[in-house]
Amino acid sequence: MKKAIQYTTLLFTCAFALGACEKSELVDYNQPDMIYVFKDFDSDVKDSASYSFAIKDESLQYDTVFVPVRIMGTAKDFDREVKWAPVDSLTTAVAGTDYEILPAKVPAGAFSANIPVKVLRNTAMKTNEVRLMVEIRQSKDFAPGISDANGSSWYMPGASRRYLVKINDFLTKPNNWDSFLKFFFDTFSQVKYAFIIKVTGRSEFPSGSTGLPYAQFVYYETVCRNALAEYEAANGPLIDEFGNRVTF
C-alpha cells in the first residue's frame, strides 16, 4: 500500500510537471463590430461639410455627398450594412425634399467606406440653407462606434457618430476658405466668390496634399487681381453684399 502511494504520487508529480509543457492558447478579445465617422485631422470637412448647388451646373438637380466612415474590428469577406438616420432635433432638411437616404455598406474586405447622402436641389435653397445631421445607427452588422473624439494629429485622427451636411443653392464660403483660401483671396463674400468663379473658370479650389499645386493658387490670385483692376477701370469698384469694396 505504501508503495502504491509512492508510485501514484510519483506518477501524478511527473504528469503535473509535464503539464507545464502544454502550449497556452491565445486569448481572444471580442468586441462587436462597430463603425464611426472618420475625422481626418487635416481635413477642412472633418466635422461638417457645406454643399452648394450654386457652384454647380444649373441643370444639376441632385448630387451625392459622401461621409467617410471607418470600422472597428476586422474586415469581413462579405458586404456589411451601415445604417444612418437624421437627428431630428438638429435637422431642418426634409427627407424626400432636401435629401434622400441611400443604402450604405462597407464592402467585403474593406476597413473604410463612405455613406452616400443624396442631396436634392429645390428653389427654397436659393434663399435658405438646410441642415442635415447624419447619425450612425445600429444595423445588423455594426453598432455605432466612437463618439466625439476630436483627434490631435494626422496619425491620431478623430471620430464621431454624427456628421453635419449643410445644403444650399447660393454661394457660401468654401470649406477651406478660412484655413487656406483666405491667404490668396482675403475676406469672403458672395460677390467676391462669384467674381472668382467667373474669372478663373472654376468654383472649387481643393487644397492640401491632394489639392491644387500651391503655385496654381498664386496664379489664380494674380488672375483675380488683374481682372479686378480691369473691372474697376471699366465699372468702378466692385461692392460686395456687405457694402465693402472687393479686393484681393
Binding site: L11, P213, A215, V218, Y219
Partner: protein
C-alpha cells in the same frame, strides 16, 4: 501492477530528462578549400557608357583541379528593384549602361568541388559621362549644339543632337544656365524665342518654354534663377514671373508680378533671404522690390540722405549689368542717358537701406563700350571685356587693370567663374575664370587662374581648347 507503474514512471522520467542532455558537438570536421578575395579598392567610380574593370587576387588554402566559378552581380543601393549579372569571369570587364547613381557590386567565387561560395562587396558610383566640365554652346553652319570639356580635358561635341535624334538646339540659342535645386540639376538653354530644359545626365530635352507655365506668354526668355532655395523667377520680355517652391508641385509659372505701371525689368537677379527680390525697371529707371510670396511689386523705402548712398526709387540711368558680389551685396553698372558717364551702384539686398555705395567709373579704360561683365565672388572687382581685351575694375579705387589681350580680331564671347557645387573645397572655386572667344573661324575656351590680387596668375591662361564653332555661352557644370 506496481512494476508496470514503476517502469512507466522510469520511462517518463528518462524522456523528460533527455531534454537536458548537453550536445557536446563531438563531430568529425573536414577542412575545405577557403578562398580569400583581395583587390586594390572596393570603392569604384565609373562613367556611364564606359567599361568597369576590376581585377581581383584570389588565394586558396586547398586548390582543387575542379576549379572555381565566378559571378559579378550589380544592383542599386537601398531597396534594389533590379539586379544584373555583369560577368562570370574571374576579373570584371563590363560595359556600364546603368543610370548614374550608387550601386553595390557583389563578387561571388564558388568552389566547384564543395559548392561553397565566398563573397566580396564593391561600392560602385556610376557617374554621367557628361557629369562635370565646362559646357559650351557652339554654332556650326548655322546650327547650335552643346559641347563639354571634362575635367580630364576630354572634349565631347554635339551632345544635344546625339541625344535628341539629330535635332539641334532652337535657332539662335545663345545662353546656357544651371539651377542646382536640392539634389537635382536643371539645365536651361535660351534662345530668342524659346527656353528648353535638358536632362543633366544625357542632355535629353525635357521641356519647352510653354510647358513651364499655366498660361504661357509670348516667349522672349531672358533668364531663369533660383533665389534662396524657395523662389524661382523667370524673366521674359522684361516681365518677371515668380514661383514659390512650396509643395505640392508642379511649380508652374503663373502671371508676371503686378506693377503699378507697365514695366520692363532688366534680367539681373538681386536678392536676399531677408528682404526678397529687387528689380530694375528700364522704363521708369528705378528699383522695385517684391517679397517671397508677393504677387505685386512695391517701392523701395523712401530715400533718406543720411542713410542712403542713392535713391533706389529714382536712379534715372540705364542699367548695363548687375550681379551678386559677396554676402548680400550686389553690384550694378549704370550708364547715364547721355551715354557718356558710367557709375557703379552698390546694393546690400539684406538691409532696409540697401543703397550703400556709389562710384563714378566714367574714366575707367575700356568700360564704356564693354561687351561682357563678370563679378568677383571674393573681392569688389568687376571683370569686363572689350573686344579682345579683358580688364579688372577695382570698384573701390575706381581703377582698372588690363589683364589679358587675345590675338587681334579675337572677340570675347562669354566669361564665367568656376564653381564646383559638388565640392565646395575645390581650390579652383571662384579662382578660375573660363573665357570663350571667337577667333577667326573657330571658337576657343580658355581657363585663367585668378591670383590673390585678382589678376591672372602668370598674366596668361592656364589651358586653352580650340577647334570649336562660334561660341556664345559657357558654364561650368558640376556633378549632381
Amino acid at each position: 501492477m506496481f512494476t508496470s507503474i514503476k517502469y512507466l514512471c522510469g520511462i517518463t522520467l528518462a524522456i523528460a530528462m533527455a531534454g537536458c542532455y548537453k550536445d557536446e558537438g563531438n563531430y568529425d570536421y573536414n577542412e575545405i578549400n577557403k578562398i580569400a578575395i583581395t583587390s586594390d579598392s572596393t570603392d569604384v567610380v565609373v562613367s556611364q557608357q564606359d567599361t568597369l574593370r576590376i581585377n581581383v587576387n584570389l588565394s586558396q588554402t586547398m586548390p582543387d583541379a575542379s576549379g572555381l566559378t565566378y559571378q559579378w552581380v550589380l544592383y542599386p543601393t537601398g531597396t534594389a528593384q533590379t539586379r544584373r549579372t555583369l560577368s562570370e569571369t574571374k576579373n570584371l570587364s563590363a560595359f556600364i549602361t546603368e543610370a548614374p547613381g550608387s550601386y553595390v557590386l557583389d563578387y561571388f567565387v564558388t568552389d566547384k568541388k564543395t559548392g561553397v561560395s565566398f563573397q566580396k562587396r564593391f561600392w560602385i558610383n556610376v557617374v554621367s559621362a557628361f557629369g562635370e566640365g565646362w559646357m559650351v554652346l557652339e554654332e556650326v553652319n548655322g546650327a547650335t549644339d552643346i559641347g563639354l570639356v571634362t575635367k580630364g580635358n576630354k572634349i565631347y561635341r554635339n551632345i544635344y543632337s546625339a541625344t535628341n535624334k539629330g535635332a539641334k538646339l532652337p535657332a539662335g540659342a545663345n545662353m546656357i544656365q544651371i539651377i542646382n535645386y536640392r539634389s537635382d540639376q536643371e539645365i536651361y538653354i535660351f534662345s530668342p524665342n524659346d527656353m528648353i530644359q535638358v536632362n543633366y545626365i544625357d542632355f535629353l530635352k525635357i521641356k519647352r518654354f510653354d510647358e513651364f507655365f499655366f498660361t504661357a506668354p509670348e516667349p522672349k526668355p531672358q533668364g531663369h534663377y533660383l533665389l534662396g532655395g524657395a523662389d524661382k523667377i523667370l524673366y521674359n520680355n522684361g516681365q518677371v514671373f515668380p514661383v514659390s517652391l512650396m509643395t505640392p508641385p508642379p511649380f508652374f509659372y503663373g502671371l508676371p508680378l503686378i506693377g503699378e505701371n507697365p514695366y520692363y525689368m532688366e534680367p539681373y537677379p538681386i536678392y536676399s533671404v531677408l528682404k526678397g527680390k529687387f528689380f530694375y525697371d528700364r522704363i521708369s529707371q528705378r528699383f522695385y522690390r517684391a517679397g517671397p510670396y508677393d504677387i505685386e511689386l512695391s517701392s523701395c523705402p523712401a530715400y533718406n540722405p543720411a542713410l542712403d548712398a542713392f535713391d533706389m526709387n529714382n536712379i534715372g540711368k540705364k542699367m548695363l549689368y548687375a550681379e551678386h558680389n559677396v554676402t548680400d551685396q550686389h553690384i550694378a553698372l549704370f550708364k547715364n542717358n547721355n551715354h557718356d558717364s558710367l557709375f557703379i551702384y552698390v546694393l546690400d539686398a539684406g538691409i532696409d537701406n540697401a543703397a550703400i555705395g556709389k562710384y563714378d567709373v566714367t574714366k575707367v579704360p575700356g568700360l564704356l563700350g564693354a561687351d561682357h561683365y563678370m563679378m568677383s565672388k571674393t573681392l569688389t572687382y568687376l571683370y569686363y571685356s572689350n573686344g579682345n581685351k579683358v580688364y579688372k575694375l577695382d570698384i573701390l579705387a575706381q581703377t582698372s587693370t588690363l589683364l589679358y589681350t587675345f590675338p587681334a580680331g579675337a572677340q570675347v564671347a562669354d566669361m564665367k567663374l568656376y564653381l564646383n557645387y559638388d565640392d565646395f573645397e575645390d581650390p579652383d572655386n571662384y579662382r578660375v575664370m573660363g573665357i570663350a572667344t571667337n577667333e577667326g573661324d573657330q571658337g576657343k575656351l580658355y581657363y585663367f587662374h585668378i591670383a590673390g590680387t585678382g589678376n591672372f596668375t602668370g598674366n596668361t591662361y592656364r589651358e586653352v581648347f580650340s577647334g570649336f564653332g562660334k561660341l556664345s555661352s559657357i558654364l561650368f557644370k558640376s556633378r549632381s
